[in-house]
Subunit: 353 residues, 2 copies
């Protein structure tokens, strides 16, 4: 059987607490399915490393990671010591861009046993995928400050989109929708307010969509779309969005299913020219770090998405089933109303595999 080389980067805060559980479950799946992993444990891409060296990653980070089959990533950010834009632009956002992980795939699903913050919603009623553009758009460090430090200060922040970048994420989303029973795609926009980029983005959705006549398309402004994630979650199947809008929707969606502690993500380079990266949607959560109370499911589910991307569908399915069972019958962490700690919940899931 093939050996997968995995770079393991816990990062900061609860990233360090949920990572051991992610690995525990991967190892359980490896035993059961005869998969072999070669883990490379990496302490950089963390604010601890920054404090020691003055940078988030070593100069040869790309060379060190280039031969890996995937990156298994916890969370980065420790604003008490390093400003977020420094830590994130120096690590995660670099991976996404320099490894051209242009798809950020984020499933949203309501599970049995998870108290839903929305009234009267049953498992099965919330089940959609957010496809987020992951390399351009609103996330840039382009622009600047004029008359800095004076009362006349003016700030320009540029968003940058390309047809190349928009079309490939739209195409991915249309393909995904086409392969699902409902064949429905929601396109996030804000063309009534953001007057250059968003009407253009709508046009690219029309152009790419012309090739997928069997997919129904619904363009929605980000404001009302956010409202509908709460009011009518059942209407969504696949949702495609720019970098910023996808970021918002993929925290909001999981919140409606009970906790962002469940939400996984796959940062994909579909062509496999570079390693893809798998990480929880939640961040480093300084407020709960150190107590071993973080929910490890997002990390574990991210591992399942990694196995799926590597071609190990059966292992993915087994992990998902173990997550489902554990959510349904416990043990559960506190964010889910349970009393288990991070390790107990991770062990329970691993044992089911």
């Amino acid at each position: 059987s093939k050996t997968y080389k995995i770079a393991v980067i816990p990062g900061d805060g609860i990233g360090k607490e949920v990572m051991p559980e992610g690995l525990r479950v991967l190892e359980a799946a490896a035993r059961r399915f005869g998969i072999r992993f070669e883990f490379t444990h990496i302490a950089w891409a963390s604010c601890d490393y920054y404090q020691q060296t003055g940078q988030m990653m070593p100069d040869d980070w790309k060379a060190q990671l280039q031969g890996q089959d995937a990156i298994f990533f916890g969370a980065v950010g420790w604003p008490a010591t390093v400003p977020d834009h420094v830590s994130l632009w120096g690590s995660l956002l670099k991976f996404r861009r320099e490894f051209d992980q242009y798809i950020n795939l984020r499933p949203v699903r309501l599970f049995e046993g998870v108290p839903c913050p929305l009234a009267n919603r049953k498992p099965g009623e919330i089940d959609y995928l957010v496809v987020r553009e992951n390399t351009e758009g609103e996330y840039t460090n382009l622009g600047g400050v004029m008359y800095a430090g004076t009362d006349r200060e003016i700030v320009i922040q540029e968003s940058v989109y390309s047809r190349f970048g928009a079309d490939r994420v739209l195409k991915y989303a249309f393909e995904l929708a086409q392969g699902r029973p409902r064949r429905h795609l929601t396109v996030a926009t804000k063309s009534n307010g953001i007057a250059i980029s968003m009407p253009w983005w709508d046009g690219r959705a029309d152009a790419v969509g012309a090739g997928y006549p069997s997919v129904t398309v619904d363009k929605q402004h980000i404001d009302i779309l956010s409202a509908r994630f709460v009011l009518q979650p059942g209407r969504f199947d696949v949702v495609v969005a720019s970098n910023l809008f996808g970021d918002i929707l993929s925290d909001l969606g999981p919140a409606t299913t009970g906790t962002i502690g469940l939400a996984p993500s796959a940062n994909l380079n579909p062509e496999r020219n570079f390693p893809s990266l798998f990480e929880p949607v939640h961040g480093s959560a300084p407020d709960i770090y150190g107590k071993n109370i973080a929910n490890p499911v997002a990390m574990i589910w991210s591992g399942a998405l990694m196995l799926q991307f590597l071609g190990e569908q059966a292992a993915h399915d087994a992990i998902l089933k173990a997550i489902e069972q554990t959510l349904a019958s416990g043990p559960r962490t506190r964010d889910l109303g349970g009393e288990a700690d991070t390790t107990e919940m991770g062990k329970a899931i691993a044992e089911l595999i």
Copy 2:
């Protein structure tokens, strides 16, 4: 008693259906409190007008409105005939900018009798104000398309902020928070991803906040902030946000209280150099227009905010009380689970005054 000159602009779609109810309630309040209104009914700032004339408003729109005490506004937008960015930039967004309505104040409140989409939330538990910057930021038509029409197409969209613009909205929000029992301000940000404007915005919040030591401040990234509107709505008191983030939060917040059909807004020029504008948060809703089923409460509550801004606090309070009573005991429109039409609900509220 003073006579208030009010420009009445129904606009498009359900704006035309809820406006009569807004006026009905204003007239009821006028009778009870001895207030006099002089209404000027305006058919422009609508897509109908655009279809006849090729522009959203006459050239002398500003002169026509300058003498008014306030603008009472329905909704603009009819994408089937006029693209949204054309209709909105040609009307509402012009008012906000050219009349320097730099505060967009949007209360969010859970009422008795309104089925809450969040599980187990009681009236009183959701009660906060979104203060949205309303004249700059992400809403611009600056930037452009390079290599247009080719595969190499690149789009630049500029966001523009000024210290002048940020400080005045932050100051307004701090003052507001300082006058409320909880004295708590949440500042929406995204400084980990949007690397120029948002760290700068955080800095302005710190600088302005230094003058308000009694207000507790909590900076939250827009992604997790959106999640917390669903998961922990009770933690919010006053929320201040840039133009785009405020737009999103002020649809999402009302959604968590049952329907965006309730949410009012006040576009304020606090210095009263120009008329302020009062409008529902909901748009023209082409999908339900023509059936007289739209919820008129957002329009009516916007009228109450207008009276408050004009100094008629007692009239504001009476309208709010009538809204509360009607929501609690009906008649209610369909979005609230009732069977009343727009007119019936409007009449019921008017009769209580």
